[in-house]
Symmetry: C2
Subunit: 446 residues, 2 copies
């Protein structure tokens, strides 16, 4: 098995699964029939097989061109427009993927930090670099603002035509909706599409994720093949045959039993960004109408020495989903030490991976004994294929889980609130009324 | 003012502060009188002024020696033995502090990942490197195991005597308690002390934090001066005069009103690791006896596009502590663009820092309107002085808050649970009984 979901420590809750079989099947079938909330955003469901093959070939060529023309790729995007790609690159190539490499990938446009932007701008000034700007709407402020900065630098370095050869735009192919699309057509940037029926947090298998992932040297064929394997594996509406339903049902059962926080606990530091992707996927899909599990993530054993105490003995409103990998990519074997100065000779001859595995098993039992039920996802290898599988598994489980919770897992109405206030405070045309109201609250003069 | 705590959006809860003044004063006075729980671990209280000056001078010399002898420093520690130092280096020098630098600092021994350890080992094989191994007890498994790996590499590269010149050990000066202390004496490693009355998560201003921070080129004089300023500022037991009491009281009031999660929302990516340090400090100090706020952290505006939806509209059991910096270290000014292709010309001439500030103000209001009360900590500059101030502010507030919650904020009994299971599964001598019990539960043969 390439992927398993182990419920050994799921606790007494597990016994209620059969009672939820119908509800889970109904959610699953609503998803496939397109009869549920947010039914216009189901394009991700068959993406692993029904993607645009012509564009896919263009993505591969663009990735090659980027690596040939530049030593740095700056990926400009925020939220779903960077988390999947960054998670994939770190998962497959490691957190330190830029260390000691001729080709580097950096993520920008995911903050308004002048410290971060100016440092990267300075770094790029001396190097050949390309930009992949990613924004479905083309108007996300962080992304658009930072794109202006790097576009200006590119045009200064290479001239307008030279810059256009180094700018790759990923946006919705819609002149009315996306200003970035219109700009790209006008300037002659290479263009890639964000299909309308795919929302940001479900977009990693579109050009949004695939172009930076391919440019970073990760095998996107394998990524899609893994996702396709998951797509095929999770077609049944029978909870006994479909782990996305089992996981969705367990999450909802814990929630109904007053668990309020799910922690994704990964056993490799390279999976940390996947934890961030997971938090967006579930938090943004379910956190609405005053409902939803609060998603958190930890990296073990690292965070057993920071959050471990809370998990073991704090408020008993947690459950945990562990994620581990069976096969270790490298061997680090402990040698015998003369005199056993640290008392670790009992581990001589053991591989570090064996220690990590015992730490995982010991932690599962300790946390379950402490009142924190735990699920365990195990994959065989930390490679692109298994990551594709994981992406699809979590996406489908999230959609089903959202339906069982009674929310629309495909919208994010709450994200507008801060944006509207920010636009008003920034003096954006069209926000004059909001600005006046805010200034009145803040007792400011306009 | 170098530091302010703004309670404008703290909500109706604020009105109850006067009623908690006595309780907060009692917690504060118990801390200073040494009459509360965990009174043997109060060494951090006067560390900013009462530190060991002779050792401090040795730390500076060691930092210089490391930079002269090596291009890479590997810091081996987990939990409180790395989070403070890493937070400080990223806060002052930036998340990408190793990028394009002649001297690099990496953190290891904070996981059992063979992928991470083998990559760093390979990287160090070709370079001159030094090791700072940090473990109060000297027997923390992750740390000890990874130290074996790098010690072996050092001895292979430089011989036993050469390796000893490149190993810097930070541990408790106690032969009975710390095997690392005994080993360091025997091998002639440079030694630095973790004072007995300072627990791991309160240890950043001891050699635990100071040596790697100084080696990374951060001004430790300024760090200590900032902490000393906070120490001096927060001496009063009057809640109206002491923001550590105000913050501690507000946290406890929110908790009593059924808030369950505190989110530290920082406005700079470079503060992300400070968020992790914060999570350990509060989570490990308060998460016990089935109690305690669950600590989370987000980086804005980045995570407004992932966790923002949940914060705005999910379960209403959150409150938020924002952390921002007034002075921007660099200017990134937006230019006017011909034809205004992205509709952002209304921002022409503005600095990115102005946008970040409006995003913060807009978010504070949006979240408060959504039912999430918010506190705001503002510092003048993201430098060592202000970080020292922040470290001390949060440490003292955490101790007072823990006392108000009715727990011992200086122990971490729950951290042993996974360790005991792990030792048993690993076959550690002395854990035979636990091993037999676990194997019986797991239906395994020994």
């Amino acid at each position: 098995m390439a992927f398993t979901l182990d419920t050994t420590y799921a606790g007494a809750t597990l016994a209620q699964i059969p009672a939820l079989a119908k509800e889970a099947a109904a959610a699953h079938n609503a998803l496939h029939a397109g009869t549920g909330a947010g039914k216009d955003f189901l394009g991700w469901l068959d993406l692993p097989t029904e993607y645009d093959k012509e564009e896919y070939a263009r993505i591969q060529s663009a990735a090659e061109k980027i690596r040939a023309q530049s030593s740095v790729l700056v990926v400009i995007g925020i939220g779903g427009s960077y988390l999947g790609a960054r998670a994939a690159i770190e998962f497959v190539r490691g957190q330190e993927h830029n260390r000691d490499e001729d080709f580097e990938v950096y993520f920008a446009g995911n903050s308004l930090s002048s410290a971060a932007v100016s440092r990267l701008r300075d770094y790029c000034a001396d190097r050949d670099f390309s930009v992949n700007v990613i924004s479905k709407s083309g108007t996300t402020t962080e992304c658009a603002v930072v794109f202006r900065v790097f576009k200006e630098l590119l045009e200064k370095k290479y001239g307008k035509a030279g810059a256009a050869e180094r700018i790759y735009a990923t946006t919705e192919y819609n002149e009315k909706k996306s200003k970035l699309y219109a700009l790209s057509l006008a300037e002659g940037y290479a263009l890639f599409n964000v299909p309308d029926p795919v929302g940001g947090r479900y977009s990693v298998l579109t050009a949004v994720g695939l172009l930076p992932i391919a440019a970073a040297g990760v095998d996107t064929n394998a990524l899609l093949a893994g996702a396709a394997a998951a797509q095929s594996a999770y077609q049944s509406d029978d909870i006994a045959q479909n782990d996305t339903l089992l996981y969705a049902a367990l999450r909802n059962l814990y929630y109904r039993e007053d668990k309020r926080i799910e922690i994704l606990s990964v056993m490799e530091p390279d999976f940390a960004l996947l934890g961030e992707w997971f938090k967006q996927l579930f938090g943004e899909s379910e956190g609405k109408q005053g409902k939803g599990l609060f998603p958190a993530s930890t990296v073990f054993t690292m965070d057993l020495h920071s959050m471990g105490q809370y998990i073991q003995e704090g408020e008993r409103t947690l459950f945990e989903t562990f994620l581990t990998v069976k096969e270790s990519p490298a061997e680090v074997r402990l040698e015998n030490a003369a005199g056993d100065p640290d008392g670790l000779n009992f581990l001589a001859g053991k591989n570090l991976a064996f220690l990590n595995e015992q730490a995982l098993q010991g932690t599962r039992i300790a946390h379950a004994d402490g009142g924190v039920p735990g699920l365990l996802v195990t994959i065989d290898k930390a490679d692109a294929w298994h990551l594709g599988y994981l992406f699809y598994f979590f996406e489908k489980a999230c959609a089903v889980s959202g339906y069982m919770l009674g929310v629309n897992p495909f919208n994010q109405p709450g994200v507008e609130a801060y944006k509207n206030n920010m636009f008003a405070l920034l003096g954006k045309p069209g926000y004059e009324k909001e600005r006046a109201e805010l200034y009145a609250r803040l007792n400011k003069q306009d």
